[in-house]
Symmetry: C2
Subunit: 388 residues, 2 copies
Amino acid sequence: MLIRNVMMEDGRRTSILIEGNVIKGIGVADGAESDEVIDGEGLAILPAFYNLHTHTAMNLLRGYADDMPLQKWLTEYIWPFEGKMTADDMAAGSRLAADEMVRTGTVGFYDMYFHMDGTARIASEAGMRAVVAETFFQHTIGTLDGYAGIMNGWNSRSDGRVRMAVAPHAIYTNTTESLKTAARVARDNGALINIHVSETKEEVENCVRSTGMTPVRYLDSIGLLGPDVTAAHCVWLDREEWDIMAQRGVTVTHCPCSNMKLGSGRFPYRDAIASGVRLTLGTDGCASNNNLDMREEMKFAALLAKVDGDVECLPAAEILKWATRNGAEALGVDAGEIAEGKVADCILVDVNDYRMQPCHNLISNWVYAASSDCIRMVICDGKVIFRK
Amino acid sequence: MLIRNVMMEDGRRTSILIEGNVIKGIGVADGAESDEVIDGEGLAILPAFYNLHTHTAMNLLRGYADDMPLQKWLTEYIWPFEGKMTADDMAAGSRLAADEMVRTGTVGFYDMYFHMDGTARIASEAGMRAVVAETFFQHTIGTLDGYAGIMNGWNSRSDGRVRMAVAPHAIYTNTTESLKTAARVARDNGALINIHVSETKEEVENCVRSTGMTPVRYLDSIGLLGPDVTAAHCVWLDREEWDIMAQRGVTVTHCPCSNMKLGSGRFPYRDAIASGVRLTLGTDGCASNNNLDMREEMKFAALLAKVDGDVECLPAAEILKWATRNGAEALGVDAGEIAEGKVADCILVDVNDYRMQPCHNLISNWVYAASSDCIRMVICDGKVIFRK
């Protein structure tokens, strides 16, 4: 595929050749041999998004309950609704979510929910990348061995674009034993691990009360942390906990809209960045956001980082990196940059859209001013998965 | 104009008759006589937005300078750029802004900038409502009498949809004398007054140092506050200052994205609401946001109000009211609600858009999940000013 005369991040216009799933050449001659020629006039090429924390089936709960305390929200609305959802319902929710993600420029996602074989199938059919992690609690950990069979069946037949993983839900919904079991089964099967960590202050206080340690110290003490782990939220980590996360190679996923809407607290941007940990971005599920729009999520993160006066914290190019390159790394894809040799996960954006003009700075416009509706084409693994 | 089978806020479908600039009937027969029939199938009708604080010509500075300290941003980038802008440049910026506002569902705006007769003309041509306020500093206050002539010329020939007003920029850029002069000339000419108040903590400290009073107490002491005044930002008011603002009938405009991006601080939502003051929403200019998207601005306000745990603060329906009905009131228009007898300022939104489904709650979806791209039609003063 040859994309002609397209704008790069630095404003210059060039032609880009994609061969197989790789960006083969930048600055190639317009006459280069290719099956498809795309006219990039008026378009910019940017890396696509990876949504590193979501619950796709929760698209069915969009707007079902808002603006109320967490306990009421969970016990009176979310859990009763979830209790009625069948595997087919969950697949329907994931299908809605895949449609929304593809249209808004997301090519890969990390999902944590239930009946995840259905979600894996939908991601695969949509041409997306995904790691889908079945969620386990202390009372469901007994079903983990059965799940391992489904997971291995899927992981051995897929081409690696979609994988299944294991998600012990959180410390407060598991025992030390069930957390260790989840980690052991995941590692025995070469699967990734996903977990919610220190989302609320109350969670930290309860963990200290019951284990004598804060969540990250406790998880480290039981051997759960490692480069195969992605931890969502991490709102209440202290500086030493950030260092532990970095030393263990854990990936952290920041979910600004969810943290704001549920009143969880403000992410400690400076400590997180200083630790050198791999930082990624996620929307969380549609019940606590209420969309899967990574462009909007970038703006929320970049502005929340600055509100108390630290205006140089998390500039536009940095949050774009969290949402693209860092997410790709965490999913094990050599993408997230428009550069020769990188996997072709990218989007084409209309730079003539009224929100993208004038174009003093393409990245600033994309993060702060644009809308995901400026997207004209989405390419995942070298294939066009959405055209507008 | 008859809009058939359109969804109302509460989910029911009905037909709406607009006669002249007024919503004449709700629930009228489909066969009612009308010049134009609009099929509302798949659409919801919602009140249009009023952007109560912006600087439209700054659309030309979108993305010109971000992520840096305020003084550097102002002195090295914004002011030098503004210094080169001619009246024609400013009109061009306002034209870009009017296009953006109309497409994103805003029918009215309150502008504070320079060469405002050009902006007034552009608002008028776009079919929008506007109050456009020429900005005065202590060193330009001498030109106020000349401006009064231009303002009166415009205000006497317009139909009231677009008016010109007077904006003493802020306390720290004016003297007591120039502030009093601005207020006197505005009031002598029946014009509204716009001013930046307590945007930063430093501004409050400087005001206390030079006058012995905080900004609201100082402005009240010199007789500036009244129901003809709209004050932008008001981030650092104490509770008694909120009560003063309410007693004087001042309108306050909250600009969450700008306050976050410039690191100005967090708006005191609970104190502001408790005071009973009229609260409105604004995007500020494109150099500190960087767009004029009131749907996105609603989500920022509603989430910022909750981040530290007060999750019941500023629910979706309340912030929608700030962005619609309260803004209409401040501009002197009996609109902002879809009800019989109200002025027809409204938008039609695609409820089948992927971001609006499922539709458990239309207002929640509109505030938290949607995009301004879901807008299919914008009506101002009974006339269609945008169709998609």
